[in-house]
Subunit: 278 residues, 2 copies
């Protein structure tokens, strides 16, 4: 019984995030494959285990190198020609039924992926994902399902990537614990949101502008600003500006009040300020 | 006219943060001084400019080294004995009037600090700050006011620190722009909040637990979890557990619902689930 529940939950988390950001599956897709696909090809040709990682690293260069260069690198590892052709064939596959044709249905790689795609249907995110034999992820620690989110226009680097790494913990001296996860490229997602006009406006909103009418009133102006801030209003102290500039400033930054601290008002009663409501 | 408005605003931001976290001025204080204090001492003894940074770095070791060791290091720079004594004296000062006695009132360091402390009164955070001649901050780039927040029990490292660095930008090849700022030790503030019992409970709250009563129902269980999550409920899928464990689980984690996905219910109508309200 394939255990890809955790991977299917990760993919839903990613899709929910995209949806909450306003991104749809016509903007972004997630390419999915499994390290076990390459493993199955190597098994078919009885290639020794220690070549597996080396092959993964080479294959991950797809996109940077041409298919011919990849082929050359694979041959230089000493792989037999048939195995190299087998790898190259599998890398170009874009559909699960085709993969099943090539590898057969009793291979773990195929069973895992079919299960994952069936989960995707039931979660309701099948439109977001597609099988792609060329996804292997460069890092040595992946052991099963691997995936990468990409913009469908093909202009950006991978938006996020991850998969299963059941043997990662032993490389840090711990016992192995089955695990999977993913990493997000925060810069890439910002680029994508900008391009789609979806980047939220995070500019600071100033509620009140406080302006002392006289340099000797900068102390009282501090008191005024401080008491506003303690009431959770954001207050900006303005100094060394002409009155004309000050009067236009609230409108420019969309502040709701301008508070002028005047000498005689301040002296008459500490709580009496000149308030201008915009 | 001393321009310490920006520093006074930074200090208010720090104090407001502490107050919002529930920390009071009996837990935390902010030591304040100015790089100009040491500068004034060096000027009194006509010490060449290039020794200033060297002296600052030595003096910042106070607390790690004894006063005698500091003295030795200062002497080894070639400073005259009187200047070393002057520095040592100033480092031990804990009050602004004393500093004024030693340096005189027409020194910039004194004027800046007096202005800053008068602002502190007017903002209302004077109880939080104190003058302390031993604060210099180790980094070479500070040029004026320097400060450090500390726990009054003296058990933790500095909670935050900062000051004015008017010449920082030219070290990166830009023109100099007057600037000041501070950095916060996120680990230290967490320790402090833990100690005071003020750390907010950030544990994850699960609303719904979804459990398929049969392995073949894990697909429908995905559909249920997915539709709950789309309604912004946090849903946890549980599998491979005994029913007894599942029934106790919601109480253990304070979830509000347990949703069991049963075969006949699922077949009868896709929307009919067995709901258990806790």
């Amino acid at each position: 019984m394939p255990k890809v529940r955790a991977e299917s939950e990760l993919l839903q988390a990613i899709v929910l995030l995209f949806e909450r950001l306003g991104i749809t599956f016509s903007d972004v897709g997630i390419r999915v494959s499994s390290r076990k696909v390459l493993q199955a090809v190597l098994n078919m040709y009885s290639i020794p285990e220690h070549l597996f990682i080396e092959v993964c690293v080479i294959v991950d260069k797809l996109g940077k190198l041409t298919r011919e260069e990849i082929e050359k690198e694979l041959i230089s590892t000493g792989l037999p020609d048939k195995a190299v052709q087998g790898i190259i064939e599998v890398l170009s596959l874009k559909s699960l039924p085709k993969l099943e044709e090539v590898l057969g249905s009793d291979v773990e790689a195929v069973a895992d992926l079919k299960k994952l795609f069936s989960f995707a249907e039931q979660y309701g995110y099948a439109d977001w994902i597609c099988f792609d034999g060329s996804v292997v992820r460069g890092l040595a620690y992946y052991t099963g399902i691997v995936f990468e989110a990409f913009d469908r226009k093909g202009e950006l680097r991978a938006i996020c990537g991850g998969g299963r790494y059941n043997k990662l913990l032993s490389t840090f001296g711990s016992e192995d614990i089955p695990a999977c996860g993913f990493g997000f490229g925060d810069a890439v997602i910002v680029e994508l949101l900008k391009e789609k006009g979806l980047l939220p406006d995070l500019s600071r909103q100033i509620d009140d502008i406080v302006f002392p009418l006289d340099e000797e009133l900068e102390g009282p102006a501090s008191t005024v600003a401080s008491s506003l801030r303690k009431k959770d209003r954001s207050a900006d102290l303005v100094q060394d500006k002409r009155l004309k500039w000050v009067f236009k400033h609230p409108e420019r930054i969309n502040a709701s009040r301008l508070i002028l601290v005047g000498k005689s008002e301040w002296e008459r009663a500490e709580t009496l300020w000149f308030l201008s409501f915009i």
